[in-house]
């Protein structure tokens, strides 16, 4: 019995024989597949509801073809052809997203970017690296490390994700408070537009030449262009790393301490505030942290800067009733930060779990944390709702909420969607933003208009202008209406 497909391609009709022939002409036999086993492999990402489906014999979606471009010209030809033939094209790194962004929900052609994974240049004078976007994050970082540099972009997914994925969904890494988020790291890029036009911006420290088109493409989730190469900032590996931690009586006090640190212009590479529940889970053996909010800091850079920043972190933490817990909790975090076991062990027990990240300004931060936790707990079936804050700015914070529960009177998917709704709508009510770094994908699509307001029509018009046939990752960011009419008419 073949697996059931959750997102069936219902409306999109095109001549697969013609398209296959054209793909073979562009990419050659070795770089095109329509084997069933490959189509099965590419119909996935790591959204946790998809794991439930998977265990029940359902796959999230199924493409019609997979292609592996080896150069930008092939991508240009592909997009020209896809625009002419009206075929969906879905850029793909390694399918590690968690909100459905790379799922081929209308079938079509998956463009696996992994063969474009070269480090083109490392410029030691400018401290930049020019890199193709199909590269795996860990292999990029350890190559840079071996030459004495870091990009400073270390998301929890670094082992399993690609640079292209970071650009597509506007990623943030664990060390982002010092090194910035992905958009801060990009100096220039090369991309292919839906009509096949190849655009390439020039690296410069800053530009005042009108709106910055390359930055507009970052976070567009593969709907506006396929980004093929970028020049990024890199940094010398830190000379010194100081690990410190403090446990605070409440989330409010921990937030206050971190706000004062950031607003003093001190930028530890890593800051993470765990609420009392997560502290009990991760730092059980730390006696000083009992019933408190553990907060860990990594200050790094030159020895003088790292030590100086650490001294200010300590001073500000103590002034907010933080109790020093030393380096052990941070070492524990370093040792376990990539240890992702829960999705594997809890889902087969029919537990529904997920994480949702949102962002908010400081003056609403504690209220948002308290309200979202309460809203998720209020959903019948929720056994645990917890949170931590993991990315910080002078003006605000990103919260990362986790929930675990069971479908009491609903299906698992209905329960899952209800908790998501509770979290996102509470965030919107308080004035937060609905996604910090995991992007919109499918999970957040229904709230795009609430988030953007009137400006949503503006980006839809831009989409329509760049991609009139809606071939690039259809069904993402722009709801289904863009291009749907044309497809139905066909």
């Amino acid at each position: 019995m073949p697996p059931e497909i959750v997102y069936e391609n219902a409306n999109w009709v095109y001549d697969k024989k013609v398209v296959k022939q054209k793909l073979l002409e562009i990419f050659g036999l070795k770089n095109v597949s329509d084997k069933e086993v490959d189509l099965f492999a590419y119909g996935k990402d790591f959204s946790l509801i998809a794991s439930h489906w998977l265990l029940k014999g359902k796959i999230a979606a199924k493409p019609d073809f997979i292609v592996w471009p080896e150069n930008v010209k092939q991508i240009s030809k592909l997009l020209k052809m896809a625009t002419a033939e009206k075929v969906p094209v879905i850029p793909f790194g390694s399918g590690s997203g968690v909100v459905g962004g790379a799922l081929p929900i209308h079938g079509g052609i998956i463009v696996d970017m992994k063969k474009m994974d070269k480090i083109v240049e490392i410029n030691k004078v400018n401290l930049t690296a020019t890199i193709q976007t199909g590269i795996n994050g860990m292999n990029l970082e350890r190559t840079l490390n071996s030459k004495g540099f870091t990009m400073g972009h270390i998301p929890q997914s670094v082992y399993t994700s690609t640079l292209g994925g970071y650009l597509a969904h506007k990623a943030a890494g664990q060390f982002s408070t010092k090194y910035g988020k992905i958009e801060d790291m990009i100096l220039s890029l090369e991309a292919v537009l839906p009509d096949g036009t190849i655009i390439k911006s020039k690296p410069a420290p800053r530009k005042s030449i009108g709106p910055q088109l390359d930055k507009f493409l970052i976070g567009s989730e593969g709907t506006l262009a396929i980004i093929t190469e970028v020049t990024v900032r890199i940094w010398p590996l830190p000379e010194k790393r100081v690990l410190i931690s403090y446990a605070f009586p409440s989330m409010a006090q921990a937030l206050e301490a971190v706000r004062s640190i950031l607003q003093s212009q001190v930028y530890p590479a890593v800051i993470r505030i765990y609420d009392a529940n997560e502290t009990a889970r991760h730092f059980l053996t730390e006696a000083n942290a009992k019933d408190r909010c553990m907060t860990i800091f990594v200050c790094e850079g030159s020895q003088q800067i790292a030590e100086f920043e650490a001294s200010i972190v300590s001073e500000k933490s103590r002034s907010c009733e933080g109790v020093a817990c030393g380096s052990a909790p941070v070492e524990h975090w370093f040792a376990t930060r990539f240890n992702v076991k829960e999705s594997s062990t809890l889902i087969p027990l029919n537990l529904v779990v997920d994480t949702i990240e949102v962002a908010v300004m400081w003056d609403k931060a504690n209220k948002l944390y308290q309200s979202v936790i309460a809203s998720m707990n209020a959903v019948p079936g929720t056994v645990l709702a917890t949170g931590h804050a993991s990315h910080f700015y002078e003006q605000g914070v990103c919260f990362y909420f986790s929930f675990g529960g069971t479908a009491v009177k609903q299906t698992e998917e209905e329960y899952y969607r209800t908790v998501w709704k509770a979290c996102i709508e509470t965030t919107l009510q308080i004035g937060g933003t609905i996604a910090h770094h995991h992007s919109i994908g499918l999970n957040r699509l229904q709230w795009m208009k609430d988030e953007w307001g009137a400006a949503y029509d503006v980006i839809k018009r831009i989409k329509k202008s760049l991609d009139p046939n809606n071939i690039l990752n259809p069904g993402k960011l722009f709801l289904h209406e863009v291009g749907k009419k044309e497809q139905k008419e066909k």
Binding site: V37, F40, Y42, D117, N136, T160, P348, L351
Partner: protein, 423 residues
Amino acid sequence: MRIVDKVKRKKWMIQALAQASLAEKTSLTKGFLNKKQFYPTKKVQADITNLIYCMLCPNMCRFECPVVETSKIETHSPAIKSRIAYYLEMNLLDKSAETLQPLFEGCLHCSACKAWCPFDFAVGDLLEDVTVDLFQNLKKYPQKLQDFTIRIQTNNGLYQKEQLKKATKLLHALPKEGELYYFPGCVTMRNHPEVIEGIIQIAKKAGVKLVSLTDEHVCCGAPSLYLGDQEKAKELAKHNKELFKKSKAKAILCECPECAYTLKEKYPELGSKVKLPVLHVVEWLWDLFEKEKLSFRFSNKKIEKILESGPISYHDPCVLSRKLHIYDQTYCLLATIFQEQFKEITYSKEQTHCCGFGGLVNIANHQLADAIATKRLAEFQDEGIQTIITSCPTCLYGFQKNNPELTFELFDLVEIVSKLMDD
């Protein structure tokens, strides 16, 4: 970990569960009891629990998988291989040559994934059990693997006897009873008789009495295990165990890491536990060196040519370094021999990268095996190495095959040691 500590670590979860409503507790219990729906109804060899853990993991080991890092095909990524395997076990995918192909061409059984696995398993080990279930439908296998199965079943090894003449002749010179049973690997016998010659010379100079029952020699069974042909592997193991007994040897010497690993770790599972110590040749050489039975002549002219070629490095075979954890002795020996001219490369010891010829990848898709070998060789080139030494006949074969312009000087450690020994 003590039970008390385990319970303490789960305190957060226990507290949450205690606070859950009755409806929630009932639903959780129902969910827990329903987990059996995710298991096949009939008994299978595959470890379904770990397959589920692996396929639901976000592929956290993928960056180190040499296959997907070379092929760039998602189907070869570790969690997807487990997903395909699970769906085959659950009869949710057709058992066809096309569906089975990624399980064979996509895994080198190199255990690179294991180092990064929070559950501490290797995808290759999971797939070995899966193939035992799949082997019941051998006709659904890709044709190349069906042919390979028949080849092993017919030859009791990888090659026909006629293809092993040179090695057989060398081995015939050894007595049939003695101290150390020399168990040559199929690939060594076919492709590297000079290594056999080297081992015989070293033994002679060190005064070790090697023994071989060449005419009755059969494969260790590792390729049969990768195919899922457990019956053939059992038959070969039983036969070999009898030979060891017959020889009255006190220990077994293998120059092939795969043979050493299979004899040590797999024979007990196949019902033919070997009680004699099984030594890989590196362990044997180190033992001789420590007992001062190996002495090197550093002014040896034979080595001068090697030294002229620049820095010399070593490729750790996956099975030797990651499964048998043998590398420290190798590096000590090489540092002693080549001193400052020896350079350890970045991906070495347990962090080594596979040569591409592990598992059945070379049988299922030889172009992919070649591409992985080329990639590994490029790592040496990037670090300025032109002379590579290794301790595995398959790695040596893979590298030789992919060194058409003779960019690299390639040696087995045995060749180096035998060249350097005092006459």
